[in-house]
């Protein structure tokens, strides 16, 4: 095969797979999103066995595999566990133009973190350990972006 490119033209077909999807949200996350969309509240759920509190809520405790049925309302505040300032742009994916900040926010009242955007602060001022609170979107459609972003607690 070596050298074939000197003898024939290299042809490349452009292609794209376009399949529409509709993802079923299911019992646990539907409840979470309805609470977020309609009441503007962030809830978590607690494992009846080990007591771990998860946000986003779990269908089963990942450590115990027990059904989760106890819900707790979170205050919507938390601490930045880690963050990144994104400088590259992927227009088809990114919710905004760079630079912008992603963070993992350890939510008060929960044992897990929520991945989200951090805004309302200059990107270079974001720090691990920074206290932040959720800013809700005015128009909410029952998705993770119903939380607009997290911003520092003044």
């Amino acid at each position: 095969m070596a050298g074939w490119k000197d003898e024939v033209e290299e042809i490349v077909f452009p292609g794209k797979i376009c399949v529409p999807y509709s993802w079923t949200v299911g019992s646990t996350l539907s409840k979470w999103y309805v609470q977020l969309r309609d009441d503007g509240e962030i809830w978590a759920n607690r494992c009846p066995s080990c007591g771990r509190v998860y946000v986003p809520p779990k269908i089963k405790c990942i450590e115990c595999y027990k059904d989760m049925n106890e819900w707790v309302k979170l205050p919507g505040t938390g601490t930045v566990e880690t963050y990144t300032v994104v400088n590259y742009h992927e227009p088809s994916l990114h919710p905004k133009k760079p630079p912008f900040v992603y963070g993992v926010i350890k939510m008060d009242g929960a044992d897990t973190g929520l991945v989200h955007l951090i805004d309302g602060v200059a990107p270079e001022k974001v720090k691990v350990g920074m206290r932040v609170k959720a800013v809700l979107a005015k128009e909410r459609d029952g998705h993770i972006t119903d939380i607009k972003h997290f911003k520092p607690i003044a």
Partner: protein, 384 residues
């Protein structure tokens, strides 16, 4: 040498066209929970997990990672296998080998699909080579229609023969609470249903379903403790064919002939029609339920119409095929072939409820997919 392995538990969802009540992860959790209950074990007893589905049906990359919460795989060994329509038997085989290797004692295989979440035919069409065959020859119905019209011409099979098989499987599904399509169907109903692609009609063809299936395999020592009657694996065989659809032999089914021949040899079966007690076969279309009988060695080549017309494969026949209703009743693609293994195992374990065939000692379960690929399992009540 490896260990002997048996199935000790099976769980499946109630399959449906749209399971809007459950996310993909929740469907998986449903099947896993039921399999654990069936085997009377907890997740702590599961040493390793294998999962499979088809990527483009839900557009989830790394499903083995994404499914963690439902699968119960956090801090457990897990990997993903996928081979299109055969994915379910591929999962079953991978779980079987994982146990048989002696590296893990109790292994759970999980297949799932939420076909309602995408355009199944559009996703399947992308399996054909994009620079040769994707545009002219893709999707599932066309190739199956083509092969049966060739078989009709060669051996005098009829559209009615396929309709008999369609009615057989669809009526069997009435006995299966997990089946997706459960309706009484006559041969006339099938013949009068809309033509999809000559000679395949609407009621000849499988649906697309939402569902999941989990099967728990255990090594001999464990299996004997966990189940009064494990379904022992006597053979697991896969045969693949050429890469391009245009290269395939269409008048008969070479991969199935080769795979079953090898599987029968491993299981010591010389007359499959007589020695097998029940068959759960991946027949995506009732035309296959006629044409492929030759390749299962259930009859001489070209004699399938006679076999089907005789009633030998009905519930009261010599070899009941698809007591569960098979694939024309239920088809969550990544789970479909694993359901065949699970149903065959339940038949041996005596747990098949209203669809139980009495006294099953040997069962066959198969998968079909890809570029005319065949997977075959032989399960038995006695140790192999």
């Amino acid at each position: 040498m490896g260990k002997r392995v048996g199935v000790v538990g099976v769980g499946q969802t109630h399959h449906a066209a749209h399971r809007l009540d459950a996310s993909g992860v929740e469907l998986i959790a449903e099947a896993v929970t039921r399999a654990l209950d069936d085997a009377q074990v907890t997740l702590d007893d599961i040493d390793a997990i294998v999962i499979g589905n088809m990527d483009h049906f839900e557009n989830i990359n790394y499903v083995d990672m994404w499914a963690t919460d439902g699968l119960g795989s956090c801090m457990k060994p897990v990997f993903k296998v996928t081979t299109g329509g055969t994915t379910g038997t591929t999962v079953g085989a991978a779980a079987y080998y994982t146990a048989a290797s002696g590296m893990f004692d109790v292994v759970m295989g999980v297949g799932w699909e939420k076909n309602s979440e995408s355009d199944t035919q559009a996703a399947i069409a992308t399996c054909a080579n994009p620079v040769l065959e994707r545009d002219p020859f893709a999707g599932a119905i066309g190739p199956l229609a083509t092969e049966y019209s060739m078989y009709m011409k060669a051996y005098g099979a009829t559209e009615e023969d396929a309709a008999i098989a369609a009615a057989r499987d669809r009526n069997n599904a009435l006995n299966n609470p997990y089946a997706h399509n459960r309706m009484h169907v006559t041969v006339e109903d099938v013949m009068n249903s809309p033509m999809l692609s000559y000679p395949v009609k609407f009621l000849d063809m499988c649906p697309r379903s939402d569902g999941s299936c989990a099967v728990i395999f255990a090594t001999e020592e464990k299996a004997k403790k966990l189940a009064p009657q494990p379904a022992w694996i006597h053979a697991s065989v896969v045969r693949h064919d050429y890469t391009h659809f245009g290269d395939l032999e269409w008048q008969w089914m070479p991969t199935l002939e080769r795979a079953t021949l090898q599987a029968y040899k491993l299981a010591g079966i010389t007359n499959p029609l007589k020695e097998l007690d029940v068959a759960e076969l991946y027949l995506p279309c009732s035309t296959c339920a006629v044409k492929w009988m030759d390749s299962f060695w259930f009859c001489d080549r070209g004699q399938a119409p006679k076999l089907i017309r005789s009633g030998a494969t009905h519930m009261d026949g010599i070899l009941p095929i698809n007591p569960s209703g098979g694939v024309v009743a239920t088809n969550p693609i990544g789970a479909t072939a694993l359901i065949r293994v699970g149903e065959a195992a339940w038949q041996i374990m005596g747990r098949a409820g209203d669809r139980q065939v009495p006294g099953v000692k040997k069962a066959i379960a198969t998968g079909f997919g890809g570029c005319s690929w065949s997977d075959v399992f032989i399960l038995g009540a006695d140790l192999p």
